[in-house]
């Protein structure tokens, strides 16, 4: 696979990660985290670890997110001023983070390029050969797919039950 796509994916990941940390709403933060997992799963798949990609997708994008959503929905909100105070504090602390990450990223990339490492070559030789993503995803792990569907449903209901009505209440 070609480098630009990889870099693009990595970039997306960084963005998602930063968003997850920085976003004010916990719910949106959790969704950002899910996005991060999805990107990571795609990356893993392209790097030749389809199984890992699949599990990442199931666990992190699906389950963990839903659990986060549930957890968030179960906890109460702090008073508005206090919460904003907290967020301001956190923002100040994490403001330097993107810059820091960017610098490290640049350095690592430069080092890779300098050493001429072929990224596409890293793949687990012991891993079974899966013909296609489609086969893997839709045929071999169709149970998980079903699981994902239900998980997402559950997450949706969690939001419905615990958020929507709370606002009404």
């Amino acid at each position: 696979m070609n480098l630009p796509i990889l870099l693009l994916l990595l970039g997306l990941m960084v963005v998602a990660a930063v968003a997850a940390v920085m976003i004010r709403s916990l719910l949106k933060s959790a969704i950002a985290l899910a996005a991060l997992s999805i990107v990571l799963a795609i990356t893993l798949f392209f790097l030749g670890a389809p199984l890992a990609a699949l599990f990442e997708l199931s666990v992190c994008a699906g389950l963990i997110t839903v659990i986060f959503i549930s957890a968030i929905s179960l906890t109460g909100n702090k008073p508005k001023e206090e919460e904003e105070e907290k967020i301001r504090e956190r923002r100040a602390r994490f403001l330097k983070l993107p810059i820091f990450l960017l610098i490290i990223g640049v350095f690592v990339s430069l080092a890779w390029i300098a050493n001429g490492i072929n990224i596409s070559g890293i793949s687990d030789p012991a891993a079974p050969t899966f013909q296609t993503f489609k086969n893997l995803f839709w045929n071999m792990r169709q149970v998980d797919i079903l699981g994902q569907v239900i998980v997402i449903l559950a997450g949706a209901f969690a939001v419905v039950v615990l958020f929507k009505e709370r606002d009404q209440a």
Binding site: L74, L146, G147, V151, A154
Partner: protein, 495 residues
């Protein structure tokens, strides 16, 4: 695969899904008013289809039925053999028995929920359908990772159900459950990951092949098993992993605690143990012994701790811990008889514990309290509740001729036969404690001089009454027809 089988197997996932779709896509009012009846239909449907499934199973030689979900893959056989494939569901007797219990308890739960306001009813139904799908999936999977996925579905649905009314207590209980459950998830997931790494696969058949061959335990196997055992023990609520359980049971709404106590935590934890003990870690001594130990501790702890509780539901929660111990004991002692006992006890526990939770709901609705110290002599005003609670408690304590006796008997026999006579002794004697706290309930709530202040109390009607009668009948009938059950398992070749 003939059409009937297709319909049967399909209905286990499709029917709840259909209900969700219909109820949510219809206009709001219709959806809300249809929700609970639809849930009843699903539950009864599940009871019927699992019954048919059991008959169908009798026709097969292998003792299980495999089927795919969305579509048939071309190279099914090859995929099925793969160490990574989770392309199909697989049902055997165990699955069908627990699925029948799921249908039954769901029905009871819905009947108990009859009085809910329509908004809640819709949400409740939605989540119940998710829960049913989760538990059905759990009962049918043949792969460790998929097992985990469905465990989580079950978990998530029950968190939300506990907090359905969003009162402080419910939220707190739910949160405790969630935190402990998250710990469990982490451990289980880590365990699965390590297992995958060291055995090179996650399907049951793949791993069991390795364990059955009797090769010595690798350190990483052991680590994986430790994590799995601990994780599942949390889910099951085995002592000392049980902390969340009484709080969650106590704080849940009545109809939800029927579900939780009757089936959900059993599915999440105990079913997993049953499944793993039967199909996966067949000769894994560490798995068996550590769970034997935990089960014994639970039996004693649950029975003793219940003695001093005041809250009806809390007593039931501790009782659950104790009963879970019995089921696990039967599952991991390593004898087919014990396994059948565990399976039957699973079912019986679903029956009698649901009965008791329904009793608790009935009392709560009529007497407006769950504190047993504040009640007394209610057997006169509430004969149905009184009688059904007597039957359920005797069944729990393992007093013949009720259903609970037989399953407990099989478990104890198996435990003794496999050489754990001391544990068998402890387990048997703990049932005296079980009896003790149930007698305490009876004494303080039902069986006693009639009190003035309860003169106006009336017996419950409708759903609660129906479910009490239904469950009592099942408890008694299961006890009486036990010989036939035994014959059934013989024809199944399980004894």
């Amino acid at each position: 695969m003939d059409n009937l089988l297709l319909i049967i197997t399909g209905s286990w996932i499709a029917l709840p899904l259909l209900v969700i779709l219909i109820c949510n896509l219809l206009d709001k009012k219709t959806g809300k008013s249809w929700a609970l009846p639809a849930a009843i239909v699903v539950s009864i449907g599940q009871m019927i289809t699992t019954g048919l499934g059991l008959l169908q199973l009798g026709l097969t030689k292998s003792g299980f039925i495999n089927f795919t979900i969305f579509w048939n893959v071309n190279d099914f056989e090859e995929i099925a053999r793969s160490a990574w494939a989770s392309a199909f569901f697989s049902v055997d007797t165990l699955s069908l028995v627990v699925m029948f219990a799921i249908g039954m308890v769901s029905l009871i739960s819905v009947l108990t929920a009859k009085k809910m306001n329509p908004d809640k009813a819709l949400n409740f139904t939605n989540l119940l359908m998710v829960l049913i799908m989760g538990m059905n999936g759990l009962a049918m999977v043949a792969d460790l990772f998929s097992l985990y996925v469905f465990l989580e579905i079950t978990g998530v649905a029950s968190f939300i159900l506990i907090a359905l009314y969003k009162d402080k207590k419910g939220l707190e209980g739910s949160f405790k459950y969630l935190i402990m459950s998250a710990m469990a998830s982490a451990m289980i997931l880590a365990g699965i990951a390590i297992m995958n790494a060291v055995t090179g696969g996650v399907t049951f058949s793949h791993i069991s092949g390795l364990f059955a061959s009797g090769s010595s335990l690798h350190t990483f196997h052991a680590i994986s098993l430790v994590l799995l055992v601990a994780g599942i023990a949390i889910k099951a609520g085995l002592a000392p992993f049980h902390g969340w359980l009484p709080d969650a049971y106590e704080s849940a709404p009545a109809s939800v605690s029927v579900l939780l106590g009757g089936i959900v935590t059993k599915m999440a934890g105990v079913y997993a143990i049953l499944r793993l003990a039967q199909d996966v870690f067949i000769n894994a001594k560490g798995f068996n012994y550590s769970l034997l130990l935990l089960a014994t501790v639970s039996i004693v702890y649950g029975a003793v701790a219940a003695l001093k509780q005041k809250d009806f539901k809390r007593i039931l929660a501790y009782s659950s811990i104790s009963q879970i111990g019995y089921i696990v004991l039967g599952a991991v002692c390593g004898s087919p008889l014990g396994f059948i006992g565990a399976m039957l006890h699973f079912f019986n526990h679903a029956t009698f514990k649901s009965t008791l939770f329904v009793n608790s709901a009935a009392l709560e609705s009529q007497v407006k309290t769950r504190n047993i110290e504040e009640m007394g002599g209610l057997a006169k005003q509430m004969p149905l509740t009184g009688t059904s609670s007597v039957l359920a408690l005797l069944s729990t304590a393992g007093i013949p001729p009720l259903a609970g006796f037989w399953s407990k008997l099989l478990i104890i026999i198996a435990v003794w036969q496999t050489g754990h006579s001391l544990i068998a002794g402890i387990a048997v004697f703990a049932s005296v404690f079980t009896l003790a706290y149930f007698l305490m309930i009876q004494r303080k709530v039902f069986y006693g001089p009639a009190e003035e202040k309860f003169a106006g109390v009336r017996e419950v009607k409708g759903g609660l009454a129906v479910s009490q009668v239904m469950l009592s009948v099942i408890t008694v009938v299961m006890g009486i027809i036990f010989p036939l059950v035994l014959l059934f398992f013989q024809t199944r070749g399980m004894i």
